[in-house]
Amino acid sequence: MKKSTKIWLTILASVISIVHFIPFYVLLTTASKERGDFSSKWFFPDQINWSNFSEAWEKANLGSALFNTTTITFFSALVLIFIGSLAAYPLARRQTKLNKMVYFFFISIMIIPPLAALVPLYQLVVDIGMMNTRTIAVLNNVASYLPLTIFLYAGFIRSTVPKELEEAARIDGAGTMNIFFRVIFPLLKPITATILIISCVYIWNDFQFAIFFLQDKSVQTMTVALSSFFGENTNNLQLVGAAALIAMAPMVTLFLILQKSFIKGLAAGAVKG
């Protein structure tokens, strides 16, 4: 490449980066203004009004929301990885007629948009008395990400885990459970990391399920708390901005630290969308 072309392309990449940063810049200026300061969002105030953050934290109930989001994400990911890896193993290794059918069933479920079944799902949750519980959020999230998890685990076991290892363990007299947890599961670390990233990002950011099943203040997640806070504060956007920054901070921090694994993991999960 000619040197001048290279310089032009670098300038182009810089301009694109700046354009993509603009909304975040506007978020930062918005969140730092005082109440009643309606000056342009292109400029920071002379003094950053840090009290927006504490005020938003209290008024939007973000402490409890953070706890709920963290708990739901943690347990969903835990259950997802346990049940998902367990399910993928026989589907990857035992090509019986039944298993082929079950695998096809799991894969086809991936195309069903969970929101399309909102009305009956809502009724089901009311019927089993689990409205406004963190448990139902965990179960719903696990069910909707299980097909993708099984798909990724099964593919990984087929392509990278050598069969000989299991056979050796079997000759030594180890039972299936033993083989799975002692021999197979430790080898699944790379794909487990991918699945953790995908499920944590999606479940942390979930709004579609949470808005229906977690309306009560005590179980609200970050997104639900933020949406009701926005409704109450359309004239106090500085507070909404501060709350939005608090809500996205944990994920953004994780992303900046583990950027490579995030990008790789989410690309693998994008197959589902």
Binding site: P23, I83, P90, L91, I112, V119, W204, F207
Partner: protein, 300 residues
Amino acid sequence: MAGKLDKLKKKTNSDKSSLWWMYLPALLLISFFIVYPFLDGIRISLTNWNGFSQSYEFIGLDNYKRMLQDPNTWLVLRNTLLYGVGSTIFQNVIGLLYALLLNQSIRMKAVARTIIYLPVIISPLIMGYIWYFFFAYQGGAFNDVLIWLGFERMNLLGNPDANIWIIVMVNTFQFVGVAMIIYLAGLQSISTEYYEAANIDGASRFQQFKNITLPLLMPSVTINMVINIIGGLKLFDVIISLTNGGPGMASQSMSTYMYNLYFSRQDAGYAATQGVLMMVVILIISFSALVYFRSKEVEA
């Protein structure tokens, strides 16, 4: 007893056993929380249920007739298609251009990649609020620029002709990073030998792009098209935070319409009917997209 145990052990350890108990929990969860509601939705769509009362009647296909006569059905279907198709086109074109640019050995490419990708990990709801600060009629950053340049401020979010495209743009902005990464991976998997051979033959850069890059990139195109269109058709969070479906019905999608029918108007039977329609539309479109783009893939 011991003999029986041995036999059992042999049976579960042999390759012929399905080990079905290992996927039983997954099967039960999915059946209970996805398959059952999906089937039950079809049943509810045949009733006049209001969402909370114990009694309701089966009214046959009345909800489906109503759906066909409801002008809102066509409005939200049109909007949903605009969200789906619009986002897909923009995300793919811009994503591919970004990938071609950031595949060059230039400075800034790591920084650009991070910034472009960042919105992917942020909740679409929050992303909607952030863009609300940008486009708001009162005090929005965009209108400040218009005023500085001597124009009137514009109510873009309240304008039915504009806000659909704003939503498409915000959705594109948020997820163009995914398309970019998938195209980057696709570009890096193309062997440089093809380009060397083309250079010897004297092919121009554009010819190389058209005859080598694009055909070999088709698998990435398939993945991107399918995930973008499904994502666009399901759009919900961004609409809620940017326009709440308004003004009136103007920017509602199938999912926000269904949400309103159920929670604001207690019209559960009809909401379920709209859910069935949404399901059918998503299935048909994503399946056709998949088949169409698969047929365009070449063996690398």
